[in-house]
């Protein structure tokens, strides 16, 4: 009996050790990024794990840099993120609600078309989007917002899965009591879907902070760094930093850390919704 419990204790210790090793392996590069952001370095690359000399200068540098207006980038991105999150949430929730709760002739074809459209690689349409926005004279932050909101109508899957799980009896009861469909949507559907609205808003809020491709194509033509968003600004910075502007590389890392911390926290807060969405999707295919 004693040997059995010993064996179990060994197994548990073994599992703890394994888990700890894995956790260290996983988190190690992230810790290195944070350490590197404090390192005193002007060679354009960081070749040691532990910085030889710690400094706050990278953070001071990036926040006050005139060549890389980081503060402007953050404000631009915040502007894009807030407006795009508001509009996208409205679009996504409306589409998801309609497709889930209402029945009309165009519903099935719409779902099928959405499925097919989703299979084209997004990059394919970028040239066209560039020219559309150019024709509208909107190669700026406004155009970027339009692109994000324009894509929101097809991102309804997770929200639709959520609405599908709400019992229909609630709607029917309200309709028997004399509510029209709009009232059901506003007074029953929306209040019950608060977690979904929060999730949708947070996802669309986060998108502009991490997107460097679309923002790059749309904003790069202006050539004015003050109009960039933070993801494209930083991405653009590291491309030049690898060459001639080696001294700015550690500032780039500092900028990344400043942005990554809130985004990471937001994501961890959201992970529960994310999992529910994926598994709900998995059940229904």
């Amino acid at each position: 009996m004693k040997s059995y419990s010993n064996q179990r204790r060994f197994a548990l210790i073994f599992r703890y050790v394994l888990l700890a090793i894995l956790a260290v392996l996983w988190i190690f590069p992230i810790i290195w990024i944070i350490l590197a952001s404090f390192s005193y370095n002007n060679t354009g690359f960081v070749s040691t794990i532990w910085p030889e000399k710690f400094t706050w200068q990278n953070y001071v540098g990036i926040l006050t840099s005139s060549q890389y207006p980081f503060v402007n980038w953050v404000l631009n991105t915040l502007f894009v993120a807030v407006i795009s999150a508001t509009l996208s949430t409205f679009v996504t929730i409306a589409v998801a609600y309609v497709l889930s709760r209402l029945r009309f002739r165009f519903r099935k074809p719409f779902l099928q078309i959405a499925l097919v459209l989703g299979m084209f690689p997004g990059f394919m349409s970028m040239i066209a989007l560039y020219y559309i926005l150019k024709a509208l004279n909107m190669l700026n932050l406004g155009g970027l917002i339009l692109v994000y909101v324009g894509g929101a109508g097809l991102g309804f899957y997770i929200a639709k899965g959520f609405f599908d799980t709400m019992p229909r009896a609630i709607d029917e009861a309200a309709e028997i009591d004399g509510a029209n469909k709009w009232q059901v949507f506003v007074h029953i559907g929306l209040p019950l879907s608060k977690p979904m609205i929060v999730y949708t808003a947070l996802t669309s809020f986060m998108a502009p902070w991490v997107d460097f491709i679309f923002s790059g194509i749309i904003l790069s033509t202006s050539g004015n760094p003050k109009t960039y968003t933070v993801a494209y600004g930083l991405y653009n910075m590291v491309h030049s930093a690898k060459g001639t502007m080696a001294q700015f590389f550690t500032q780039f890392i500092a900028g990344c850390v400043i942005i990554a911390i809130p985004i990471t926290i937001l994501f961890i807060v959201m992970q529960k919704f994310y999992v529910n969405g994926i598994t709900a999707g998995a059940d229904k295919g």
């Binding site: 179990r8 599992r15 888990l19 894995l22 956790a23 988190i27 590069p29 992230i30 290195w32 990024i33 690359f45 960081v46 070749s47 794990i49 679009v91 409306a94 589409v95 029945r103 719409f110 499925l115 097919v116 299979m119 084209f120 690689p121 997004g122 990059f123 394919m124 349409s125 970028m126 040239i127 066209a128 020219y131 559309i132 024709a135 339009l146 324009g150 894509g151 097809l154 029209n180 469909k181 949507f185 991490v210 993801a231 930083l234 990344c256 942005i259 990554a260 985004i263 990471t264 994501f267 961890i268 992970q271 994310y274 999992v275 994926i278 598994t279 998995a282 059940d283 229904k284 295919g285």
Partner: protein, 451 residues
């Protein structure tokens, strides 16, 4: 709605035309007239104004735009011509085929939209005619507006999203598909013309075939390897964290999730730095004495095999946490009775995993797995940010050894090559590949069987 369908089927358009009065007949030409007669102001004026605006637009610029589609502009290249009016030679710029094509397609979309409105008009006219004939109540303007918030709420809520989808997804997609049938490339960067399936020929059997098939092969290998490794190890990690006796499960999970939560342009760009020839990993391995020379992991001097393995390993670093998260949710909901029964019958943990837990997880997750597989075929970030396709491959045209079809597509458009038509062809081929796999997947899920 059901009722309405029955009602309208009682009379045909032909009968409406034959038996209708003058206003009903005129409504076939002047949209919304019949609605206006019955004081349905909103519907009547919307249809009428839509028609007026459409006709003005169509004759002023619509016809011209659509006609432009036939040859995408007559002047294909810059040339010097003699201008008789001024009596001097002037340089004539080529027509901008991109804009001609874009506005041509947009015009076709507007025409299609107008035809839809016209059908709506006819249908409403027919319906009103039927109600008149039966002396039934014809909805007032107020009732029509009210129905937009009740029976036709879907139309109200979907209008803006559908317009956005058409403008920012459908239009660009159709534009790019048509681009695959032109010779839009560096030599024809302003004025280009229709060339049928020539660009497809270039990719499938012409000068790009030598790149396309190897890159396609690597894309598929990558997608299988990336999906399988992240899934399998993700499940194992989830089981490890979920196993009995481990405390603070949430803390452990969060540690792994942090890696996925960090924006990819940060984590992957820094990972590239980490794996650099002069990067900290090589320094560390040298200090430990494990290697005597730094290894080229992902730069241009790296061997293709090492670079590809590195990419898959780094993808595990990013992908396993997500897969761990989803399989945790599934594991928590797995029925425990089978596992208990097996344990009582004396099955070892490994046997339970092999024969019960893993097959169950696989079953529940198979649709999600197919989605992940397609996502990996299109996994732009990992390759683009980590290696940028390096090491370059001299046998390839504009691609490196780790380039996937999507990153190659990106290079063909935004890189030196500027072969826009070929990148459009690639997009279509990627679509065909994804669609095939999705079709197989959806045929095997319950959702498909239920319709």
């Amino acid at each position: 709605m059901f009722k309405k369908k029955h009602a309208t089927s009682a009379v045909t358009l032909k009968e409406t035309w034959k038996d209708g009065d003058a206003v009903t007949k005129l409504t076939f030409f002047i949209m919304g007239l019949n609605a206006l007669r019955h004081r349905q102001w909103l519907k009547g004026f919307s249809l009428l104004f839509a028609e007026i605006i459409f006709l003005i637009w169509f004759f002023l610029s619509g016809i011209h735009s659509i006609a432009g589609l036939s040859n995408l502009g007559a002047i294909k290249s810059k040339r010097v011509v003699f201008d008789k009016a001024q009596g001097v030679y002037i340089t004539q710029q080529p027509d901008n085929s991109v804009l001609i094509l874009l506005f041509g397609i947009l015009a076709l979309f507007i025409v299609a939209g107008f035809i839809y409105l016209y059908i709506v008009n006819l249908r409403s006219n027919k319906h009103t005619f039927l109600l008149e004939k039966r002396h039934e109540h014809i909805p007032t303007n107020h009732e029509e507006i009210a129905s937009l918030f009740d029976q036709r709420l879907h139309a109200t809520l979907m209008t803006i999203p559908i317009v956005l989808i058409i403008l920012f997804t459908v239009l660009p997609t159709v534009f790019m598909i048509s681009m695959a049938f032109t010779n839009y490339d560096r030599q024809h960067s302003v004025g280009f013309s229709w060339t049928g399936f020539q660009a497809f020929g270039n990719v499938l059997s012409g000068d790009l075939a030598g790149t396309f098939f190897p890159v396609l092969g690597w894309t598929l290998i990558w997608a299988v390897a990336a999906t399988a490794t992240t899934f399998f190890f993700g499940v194992l990690l989830a089981l490890l964290i979920e196993s009995k006796g481990i405390k603070h499960k949430n803390v452990w999970r969060t540690i792994f999730i942090i890696v996925y939560a960090v924006p990819q342009f940060v984590s992957l760009l820094m990972m590239a730095q980490f794996l650099d020839y002069q990067g900290p990993l090589n320094t560390l391995l040298m200090n430990w004495g494990w290697i005597s020379h730094p290894i080229h992991f992902i730069d241009n001097q790296a061997s293709p095999l090492i670079a590809r393995i590195t990419v898959i390993v780094v993808n595990m670093w990013i992908g396993i946490p997500v897969s761990m998260l989803t399989s945790t949710a599934i594991i928590q909901n797995l029925p425990q009775d089978q596992i208990e029964a097996a344990r009582i019958d004396g099955a070892s943990p490994v046997q339970i995993f092999n024969h019960i837990t893993f097959p169950q997880i696989l079953f529940v997750m198979s649709p999600a797995l197919i989605q992940q597989f397609i996502g990996n075929i299109n996994n732009f970030n990992v390759i683009y940010l980590l290696t940028g396709g390096a090491p370059m491959n001299n046998n390839y045209n504009g691609a490196g050894s780790t380039d996937l079809l999507v990153t190659w597509l990106y290079n063909l458009t935004f890189g030196q090559e500027q072969r826009y038509n070929a990148s459009a062809v690639l997009g279509i081929l990627i679509f065909i590949i994804s669609a095939t796999f999705s079709l197989i997947a959806y045929r095997h899920t319950n959702a498909y069987k239920e319709g």
